[in-house]
């Protein structure tokens, strides 16, 4: 008696429960991975701290004082010491997350959108269009990524906007390649033919059948690029090609504190430790996501 309506309800909502079933499985596998959860917690903490920086930071990130320059870690009122202009390190590290995360993550998001679009079009249309897109991408792939990022940034000049552009250009080729290869595989599957036979247009097929299957693997691949992007974005600022002073940003802070390694070595190394923490957490979480979603790229 009770089983019949339940079964009925299940068949009625079959497609919805099927998709929820997959994501529920992914979620369950992720939650069970303790290391991934610790990494996620650290990332969430750093992101929240950056968002609510004005409320939690103990000092003004821009106001320094020449009489309290380069205080060591553990100074009263300045738990992580002060920088070369006497600004509170803890405050600047909290604020620094804003720009560092922004310039590290936005290029990957941009490249995810543009690269997936290019790859899907190349893979789905094939022929000459594929040739044109993929050979152009090969050319950009023929540059070592750090060299390409620095060359574009160097040519365009320093600045947040230019550093985001250069890193976007760096990450489009690898993402487009992955999207193209997955699209080519999906395009030749039977259900695409079935959709076409039932009268679906190219646009519908791309939107429903191709993107639905391509987004997952490409997204997992993109998450694995965030760590590299964070390191490179901070690296551009470290070289003086990204964020300009006096903005708090971890790479730039590392650069300006380089002169202080003889007087306050531990304080000078702090911003790099933040980059390292975010980068390793993203890497470990991306690995966990990959195995939870069972993606092989």
């Amino acid at each position: 008696m009770t089983a019949a309506p339940a079964a009925n309800a299940q068949t009625q909502t079959a497609p919805a429960t099927a998709s929820r079933g997959y994501w529920a499985g992914v979620g369950r596998r992720l939650v069970r991975n303790r290391l991934a959860m610790v990494c996620l917690a650290i990332l969430v903490l750093i992101v929240l701290a950056a968002i609510f920086a004005p409320y939690i930071a103990p000092h003004d990130p821009y106001r320094g004082s020449m009489i309290r320059r380069l205080r060591p870690i553990g100074t009263d009122g300045y738990p992580l010491g002060t920088d070369e202009l006497g600004r509170d390190m803890l405050t600047r590290l909290i604020y620094g997350g804003r720009l560092s995360l922004f310039i590290g993550i936005v290029p990957v998001l941009n490249a995810f959108v543009i690269g997936t679009a290019l790859g899907v079009v190349a893979g789905f249309v094939g022929g000459k269009v594929n040739m044109a897109i993929m050979r152009t991408i090969d050319v950009f792939y023929a540059f070592p990524s750090v060299l390409l990022a620095i060359a574009i940034s160097g040519a365009l000049g320093a600045g947040i906007f230019n550093s985001i552009i250069s890193l976007t250009v760096v990450f489009i080729p690898p993402i487009a390649r992955v999207a193209e290869s997955v699209t080519t595989q999906v395009r030749n599957l039977d259900f695409v033919d079935a959709a076409r036979a039932s009268g679906a247009g190219s646009f519908t097929i791309i939107r429903v059948h191709v993107l639905g299957n391509v987004m997952g693997p490409v997204f997992v691949y993109a998450t694995s690029l965030v760590s590299v992007s964070m390191i490179l974005a901070a690296g551009l600022s470290f070289l003086g090609l990204g964020v300009k002073p006096p903005e708090p940003e971890w790479g730039l802070m590392l650069n300006t504190l380089r002169t202080a390694i003889y007087s306050q070595p531990y304080v000078a190394a702090l911003p790099g430790a933040m980059i390292f923490a975010v980068s390793i957490c993203f890497n470990l979480f991306s690995d966990a996501l990959r195995s939870a979603m069972d993606v092989k790229v």
């Binding site: 070592p144 160097g154 470290f238």
Partner: protein, 317 residues
């Protein structure tokens, strides 16, 4: 094999042309006058035009590109705007320094990373695997310029064992293989080796684990082959892919040395690139990028060919 070789070589030509076009355009989308770094602000129009002509900036862009490529093929990359010296000679000298650093770093990274990866893949899901995999994740996640700084803090500032920056005592430019000079090489090379170490370890681990799960390994064991014998088969099967990963990594090291060279003031191509960028020395910038990119293209080609030679099955794909 010969046919493949020819095909691969022919395919490399448009890539090389595309790469040089990107190098050329990259510098020409740069805002500002390319001569701004040498001209005094009150330079007469006559002088401006004269210099523009001398550097060829007065010709239309496509013409400039063709001329540049044609001269580059003959080994002439023009003259540096800031110093007036030939770009090719400057790049060549710096390339030697970077090459030495990169090869040393690569050798260390490949050997240690290869061993880590192999051990982790062979004893998968044991504590050894966890330690080795953990170290390789650290290797791929650490901002290497920061690691360089930490090494300087530990070994130069605290312990005073190694010099913090430079490539030889007294700022000398000539390299000699003695302890006085090698001391300057240790930290930059160690810092640089961290990146390939992590990536090689990860790739080799995945490779070895994949090969060990294949049926032919069971067949070998069933035939009564010893562990050492099986190991030999695993190495043989992993070699082509591992070599490809390593070849690319060497190229990445050569092209991406700028951050490390900045930290250690190492007089290589990265250092040169930094100077070119901040002095807005366009011919030098163009030339350095071109040489590094072309080296990477050739290295890719070489890796592909060696890989096909080692494992003829790849050719069909």
């Amino acid at each position: 094999m010969f046919q493949y070789l020819i095909k691969r070589l022919i395919y490399a030509v448009p890539i090389a042309l595309g790469v040089s076009l990107v190098c050329f355009l990259m510098v020409h989308i740069a805002p500002g006058d390319p001569l701004v770094s040498v001209l005094p602000p009150d330079a007469s129009l006559d002088l401006q035009n004269q210099l523009r002509e001398a550097y060829g900036f007065d010709k239309p862009l496509p013409m400039q590109f063709l001329l540049w490529v044609w001269r580059a093929l003959g080994g002439d990359l023009g003259y540096s705007i800031a110093t007036g010296r030939p770009v090719a000679a400057e790049v060549w000298r710096a390339f030697g320094n970077t090459f030495m650093l990169a090869v040393l770093a690569a050798m260390f990274g490949f050997v240690v990373g290869g061993i880590f990866g192999f051990v982790a893949g062979y004893w998968r899901d044991t504590w050894i695997d966890r330690v080795a995999s953990g170290l390789s994740v650290v290797g791929v996640s650490v901002p290497h310029y920061w690691m360089g700084m930490v090494l300087v803090i530990v070994f130069s500032v605290q312990l005073n064992w190694l010099p913090a920056t430079g490539a030889g005592p007294g700022g000398s430019a000539d390299w000699v293989w003695d302890w006085e000079h090698v001391k300057y090489l240790i930290m930059p090379a160690l810092t640089m080796s961290v990146i390939p170490l992590g990536i090689v370890a990860r790739s080799v681990r995945a490779l070895v684990a994949d090969i060990l799960s294949q049926e032919f390994v069971d067949a070998l064991r069933a035939k009564g082959l010893t562990d050492a014998g099986v190991l030999l088969h695993v190495v043989k099967n992993a070699a082509p892919t591992a070599l490809a990963v390593m070849g690319l990594q060497l190229g990445y090291l050569l092209g991406g040395s700028i951050l490390i060279e900045t930290v250690f003031a190492w007089p290589g191509t990265g250092f040169l690139l930094g100077n070119a960028i901040f002095q807005r020395d366009l011919p030098l910038l163009q030339g350095t990028i071109l040489v590094l990119a072309m080296f990477f293209v050739s290295l890719n080609l070489l890796v592909d060919i060696v890989q096909t030679w080692l494992d003829p099955r790849i050719k069909r794909a």
